[in-house]
Symmetry: D3
Subunit: 245 residues, 6 copies
């Protein structure tokens, strides 16, 4: 049940304790993909996952601005500090738990949010306020995951499938030409870069031309299936905390 379109009486009448919160970012994704990529993909995966399971699940509105200061050199990128992001997500999630929706999956579309969401999940779960786990769609798509870049094959593919008009097809070649091969600037297993602009000229990592619409369809199917399994696991899990040894 989508909170944006439901009434409070609809929610009251629901038999459910499961919720999903899409979490994205508004940030550069190269000259060919929209700044909203991470919101749009997170929402698409969340919606498909919720539809796949045979349970009632509350679907919260997407959180649109995340941890993205690493893209600050690229116009239009928005961000908040990690502290503020954690608090905003944690408190929004707590308000769901207040109504009994206390098993929550954060469906994430942005790599920069991953650490912060895990921290939020731990904070709320250990405090017994809610059981909260983050799920990042491009980490769960099997062998595709290795191709994840930024505005690269995976994100381009998924967008071509779900929002094809938002990919500037005429700039794919430009995007490819200015792209970096990999994320970061590594020495001794350490990424020496903190800003994406240190290693990519146009903000792209990976080759977007390898992201076909068909691949996007497959990615969505993989992510959906995995999310559905996770939702089942979260619903059934014994979330009581272990005893002190």
């Amino acid at each position: 049940m989508d909170l944006t379109t439901a009434t409070w009486t609809d929610v009251r009448d629901l038999e459910a304790d499961l919720a999903v919160v899409p979490v994205g970012s508004t940030e550069q994704h190269g000259p060919h993909a929209p700044l909203g990529t991470d919101v749009l993909t997170a929402e698409a995966v969340a919606d498909a996952g919720v539809e796949r399971v045979d349970r009632e699940v509350v679907r919260a509105p997407a959180i649109p601005v995340g941890v993205a200061e690493e893209h600050r050199q690229f116009p239009g990128t928005m961000w908040v500090s990690e502290d503020t992001f954690r608090d905003y997500v944690a408190e929004a999630v707590s308000s769901l738990a207040h109504h009994g929706f206390d098993r929550i999956v954060l469906v994430n579309g942005h790599g920069g949010n991953v650490d912060a969401l895990r921290e939020v999940g731990g904070r709320l779960t250990r405090a017994g306020e809610a059981y909260v786990v983050p799920f990042t769609w491009f980490e769960v798509v099997g062998e595709h995951t290795a191709d994840m870049g930024h505005g690269g094959p995976l994100e381009t593919a998924l967008l071509r499938h779900i929002e094809p008009e938002l990919i500037a097809e005429e700039r794919i070649e430009e995007a490819r030409a200015g792209a970096a091969d990999g994320w970061g600037d590594w020495t001794s297993y350490v990424n020496l870069a903190y800003d994406a602009a240190e290693f990519t000229e146009n903000g792209v990592v990976g080759d977007p031309s390898e992201g076909s619409k068909e691949r996007g369809e497959e990615l969505l199917e993989l992510a959906t299936e995995t999310l559905a399994r996770l939702l089942e696991a979260v619903a059934e899990r014994d979330v009581s905390r272990p005893e002190h040894r």
Copy 2:
């Protein structure tokens, strides 16, 4: 230019320093109107206002969860603390200013956000980081403003105009029957209530049946025109701070 669908190169090529950020809330609006009312109305007004002016304006994604703990007794209502809300809005806005979009109107759809947005505007403006002013659509619609309730005539009207399928028409009578006449519980000019549930049974204030589609159209036109004028004023204003006396 909508940041969600634009690329960073689109934003780079823009000649603009003006931006709007829709700010809403996901909270109960009675048995007949959706929890997303304040987001949907803020977005509709923001989009119409941006379209009306003869200037380039950046349009950020809407902030979906606000200051709404006063509705916490009604299922599905989401909220964050006022501190966290202020920080989230202020930092998101600062990231726009970082790219030169440093004249910003916060187009707000929720009464509970008003004080916090004014505080954020003051904080950023006085610090010289950006010139930021909040605009709350139902405060600017002339004599209609006096009819503002909660899920009442104004919000119902505007939704019937912009998202008619989201109004549960079959529950309008129920909504009306359980509604309060006015917001709050007043003695000596002081509102003694802090939770909406102290004075409204079903979350409604005002009579939604007085909110026709036509009235909604008029409200949108009034809000749009007023926002357009404000955008011009914000664009032209001398925002330097006064001298110490």
Copy 3:
């Protein structure tokens, strides 16, 4: 019972759960009225209100520095950030509640404090720590309220009644000459100004010559009577929080 002059054993022997906390500001009030105007008026109203009711009421010392950065261009104006002000008031109030004085009226003399005090009241009341409501004297004086400015008719009148020697009568004409007609600089129902110096040369809003001693007496009587009624209402109110719907 005034906490400043009472001993702890006096307080221990009191049968009471009601308290008032005067809250003011030390800030410019034009060339003719003292920087302490908002403290002095808040204290006068608080004391008169306490005396008027037929109940024991604890009277805390006045909080002298508030939310007044908007007057920062005028020498002598003191302020703290809104965050710090809220915490200071909230914690001071909580310490009263610790002793059982957990129904508290914040008697306020400064417009800039209004939003922050309402937020503090909500925070403490919803948390069940104390029932706290703010009361701002110039908002409760009937038709006079429409004349409220800054260092204008109302404040000048009240001071002439309670502290006549603190009005520099010889500068009333100067104060009037440099005064603004209204508070703020409005376009499209939005106040575009954040600093008082953007719209008033000498810090005055409204005509102080319309603030006679007799009017001040009437204002005090109105505020006193209203506060007394509020104190009764606060004492009698069922402050339990509503059930979850």
Copy 4:
């Protein structure tokens, strides 16, 4: 110049960079002395010191609630957390510095505030925002200092001199009978107590009957003279920070 009674134009016309801020506490002082003791004594000393020097000095309103949780078992005692106290004092002081009053003495009447005020002084001074030093009157009265208790000889004496009607003379014997000899409960040079109620039954430490009016007069003279010397030193001091070695 007293900020409470001065106008902003009076302050503007002042040639000064020196200010004093009285800092007190509203807390138990035994059955015989008022809860406001620390505010009243701090104000008396501050006023006398300002009058003694041959310079213009701005006198801010007293801060009435301080670090006093150690007295929380005694009705009427008010307090805020140390964090909030530090922020409130620091920001109030910074607002004075904003107008050029950037050499500031915090005239303190409460032992529990001492550490926090020193921390605030260090924070502002090292940041170059203002030069701020705390001064606690009962630490500067020569051999009398050794007699400092709580509601004991020194405070009782000073109050008998400055506010004789606020000492409940008929309870002096009771106060003396229930008093502790010294502050704290010491083992191995460590005070094992955190609450005054751990070592004093009625909140008194020291013998109030040894606090005559004459002694109070002498104390005020000593404190005044010392404060005057300090004000001169603060006015003349080179407050630039040392070079990095």
Copy 5:
């Protein structure tokens, strides 16, 4: 140069801008390995790395308590919140930068610290305060890294090499018997566990009997060599921030 044993004049006479800060944790490492494992290993690697390079490097004292709440069910485990840990590390590092040691490697021995240290590095580097990168020894030891558990082969091996007397050899079998095979409890690529006690009975992950002294020697050599290369890279890197696009 070890800050613990050097004098300030020694440090003053140094030609250097490079520093290392060992960061550990005091937390359970099974029945056979000490709670201090992560501090001891971080220090050993840091010292060996500093010795290997042909540059002067400042060596700060190790930070002994980190992000380890996940081990809270095991007696003796210490931790602080992630917020506090980040602030403590960031401010300690900033104090080094104050003296010109503004290229800093955080030599880390604990998995739970990784995210927080990366965040600190980003915060300080983007602010231009210092260039700070974290280095976690067990992530840089080539194919060994895949064997990393907790109190498992790698940590046991390294301790047997550097502090053999701290491994309780008589409990290795017990440690092995109660160990988990892998870290976490995974479904759909998501770790559903937040506390180590959810998946390991005795706190061990991996087989400590596979951690020979010889393997430990090899691990130290690998980590040392990698750290030395990193120190060179950090010393030589252009750390200016990229231009806005």
Copy 6:
């Protein structure tokens, strides 16, 4: 039992509720004594005290960076803000209490930490989380205490006894020559200095040549004996909070 070298099973098997946490600082101690002086001395005293008592006591790792910004002009000095220091110590201590070690002595070696540790002790004790008292070794050594400076007779003596190789004997004369006689720059009983560099050229206060090895041995014995008595008192104390009066 030393937490660094014990296993969690060792700690589990302990019958104890008493713990010590050494707290130091890494800061200048003149040209002759190491930056780690306050850590080394705190650890030596803590270890000797623990050994002296006939009880099981948990010994936590030392906290190495404290409140030392006052020495910031001297290279190599590290510090964190007082807020962060308090939080780090308080949370580390709370994690010990979580395992039942809820009577805790903070064995401190640095004057700058004293106020902050007392505040932490009050915060945790009043909240009922743990009973925590700070103990600063140079405050408990009888008449020697009066000789305490900085890198002066006491610290030099103790180091000569416990870590003689860390005293640069060849620079004792230099240290003495540049030393200040006393700590601070006093007028009217107020220390006008906030940075040590305002009153000492080389960072030394007091004459280190008066700190013989023999004196160091005596100091350690005095501190050990006093700490042992304190540990007994802390173990036996009724730590319930007093009743509200």
